[in-house]
């Protein structure tokens, strides 16, 4: 019988034929945690009596969530990670290197891999045709120690993005539209497999955005088949040797197939306090913003910063609005610097912060005040997410965010891109 991409990858890693619903212990290719979850993983490795990691070259720690450290407790957690990595030979990416998910796709994830990470947005790597999923610190500790994990092979929902995308509409709008439709638990325990003619043509950065937010529908992973676009990306990254074509078999059994007509999608906004509480910007009442944040593993890549800069060129951020921009990796930062994108952003009034998670996690670098409103390109807007339960977070594409920063309220980017 035909297999879905998840069934194929998990079967390979278990060394036997598996189908949706089966349980298996599998080998894993990439194991990672970050500074919020890594210290607990390290203590669990030690608690289980392991002194080494199984595959140091494929075991990663990222200091991205509170980087540079805003307080001593976190500085001490960073020391735990640095010490453990240096003792075991695990790979560590220290402050300023970027968000874990972005560094993994740039330099490590290969099509067909199983990637596990102590971060819910580990599913980002699914854009390269990997089975990538988030877990907790103890699972990741076991992954470090044994290079194995246990999985239930998920049932798959196929998402076909069909027809065409209108001007001013981006991958972020598509994924918010999808989550609004299927709700924030519409894909719990399921894999999402993305396709359709729009999906097949979609650039790699857009695929990262979409896979990144699969978990916001509850999904275990969000996978694109690997194809010529994946191949070109890996080639540009100097990693062509790890390219493999991974697609679902003909006759693969899907739990459900959802067809999305992209031509009806408008720029979307998620309203407080859930991602699925979304509607088109055009239907939104006038919402004044105090802060606009462009960045994160969802939308902090060069193409995102470029879209924002094109809108902000020769314009100014509205009075009373703070615009914070955080490149998602060092490579992104350098490219934006070399191509003048950062200059444009700074000229417009933006504040640029070092690569990392920025204010998304509510630790530092833009914590909101009581009653304040932020429009962000991040992936979630739960109450308290940005450090204050008495603030309000809206989510959008970088284009909507940039245009809203100019207007001072949440505004439709088609007014400027149309």
């Amino acid at each position: 019988m035909g297999k879905t991409i998840s069934e194929k990858i998990i079967s390979e890693h278990a060394g036997r034929e598996l189908k949706a619903g089966d349980f298996a212990v599998v080998d894993v290719d990439v194991v990672m945690s970050q500074d919020g979850t890594g210290p607990l993983a390290v203590s669990q490795v030690k608690k289980m009596g392991f002194r080494e990691v199984k595959k140091p070259e494929k075991s990663f720690f990222f200091i991205d969530h509170s980087a540079p450290s805003p307080r001593k407790e976190l500085s001490n957690s960073h020391i735990v990670l640095r010490d453990f990595a240096s003792r075991t030979g695990a790979v560590i990416y220290d402050i300023g290197e970027g968000v874990c998910h972005q560094v993994l796709v740039e330099s490590y994830t290969c099509p067909g891999d199983i990637v596990i990470g102590a971060d819910s947005h580990t599913c980002t790597s699914g854009a390269l045709g990997a089975f990538a999923t988030g877990m907790g610190s103890t699972d990741i500790a076991v992954g470090y120690a044994l290079a194995k994990t246990w999985l239930m092979v998920p049932h798959t929902i196929k998402i076909n993005f069909n027809r065409k995308i209108n001007k001013g509409v981006f991958a972020k709008d598509l994924i918010i539209y999808l989550i609004e439709k299927i709700t924030s638990d519409g894909a719990t325990y399921r894999a999402l497999e993305f396709g359709g003619e729009v999906g097949a043509r979609m650039g790699i950065d857009d695929r990262f955005t979409i896979s990144n937010m699969a978990v916001e529908a509850g999904a275990k992973t969000g996978i694109f088949p690997s194809d010529e676009i994946t191949k070109k990306y890996l080639e540009d990254q100097g990693r062509i040797d790890c390219f493999r074509e991974i697609t679902a078999d003909r006759g693969a059994k899907y739990e459900k197939i959802i067809d999305i007509d992209c031509s009806v999608i408008e720029p979307m906004v998620s309203q407080p306090h859930t991602v699925d509480n979304a509607l088109p910007v055009s239907s939104l009442e006038k919402i004044m913003v105090d802060q606009v944040f462009i960045g994160t593993c969802t939308n902090g890549r060069f193409s995102d910063l470029k879209i924002a800069a094109d809108i902000l060129k020769d314009r100014k951020v509205a009075g009373g609005v703070r615009l914070i921009v955080v490149p998602s990796s060092r490579d992104t930062y350098l490219e934006a610097m070399e191509k003048g994108v950062l200059k444009t952003l700074v000229d417009s009034g933006a504040v640029i912060q070092p690569p990392g998670c920025g204010p998304c996690v509510g630790v530092h670098q833009g914590v909101l005040g009581d009653g304040e409103v932020c429009l962000s390109t991040q992936n979630r807007n739960f109450k308290g997410r940005m450090g204050n339960p008495d603030s309000f977070i809206y989510l959008s594409s970088p284009a909507t965010a940039a245009w809203s920063a100019v207007k001072g309220y949440i505004a439709d980017p088609r007014e400027v891109l149309g």
């Binding site: 044994l146 638990d185 739960f382």
Partner: protein, 173 residues
Amino acid sequence: MSGKKKNSKILIGKSFKFGDDISTDLIAPGRLFHLRSNLPRLAEHVLEDADPDFAKKVKPGDFVVGGMNFGLGSSREHAPAVMKIAGVGAVLAKSFARIFFRNCINIGLPALVCNTDKIESGDVLEIDLKKGIISNKTGNLELKFNPLPGIMIKILDDGGLAGHITKNKGFKL
């Protein structure tokens, strides 16, 4: 409340009812990120942004009862960990977000899927983990919960994933 009875899989406690979509940000918020290295201190703030007094009111063995999609959001294992440290004996919900559910089992905190509509805050529940039955002593009714997959029962029986791996020197599922 008495918590766990000796030599049995019966849990007894009082319920604290929450709504749908209780995120890990409400359970263990990012603004307290620095306390993740001190879980007993973080536990003093457990669920604070959903119910500011919960940490003061909860007694060992009590239950957290949610609606749909309990634990959505981040992978932070600290969220179920601080619930357990605060004394929570089990979490009941109509449905759980995947990572949170897996984390509960990994740390040895029972997470039970059942229809929670007929449970109110303050109800005294007696839960038979083996039989899969929740008796609402206050509401005077019985509820069934979905049995866990065999793999998860093994992990829970070993006291969580770390216990399972230590005991078996690897996976034995």
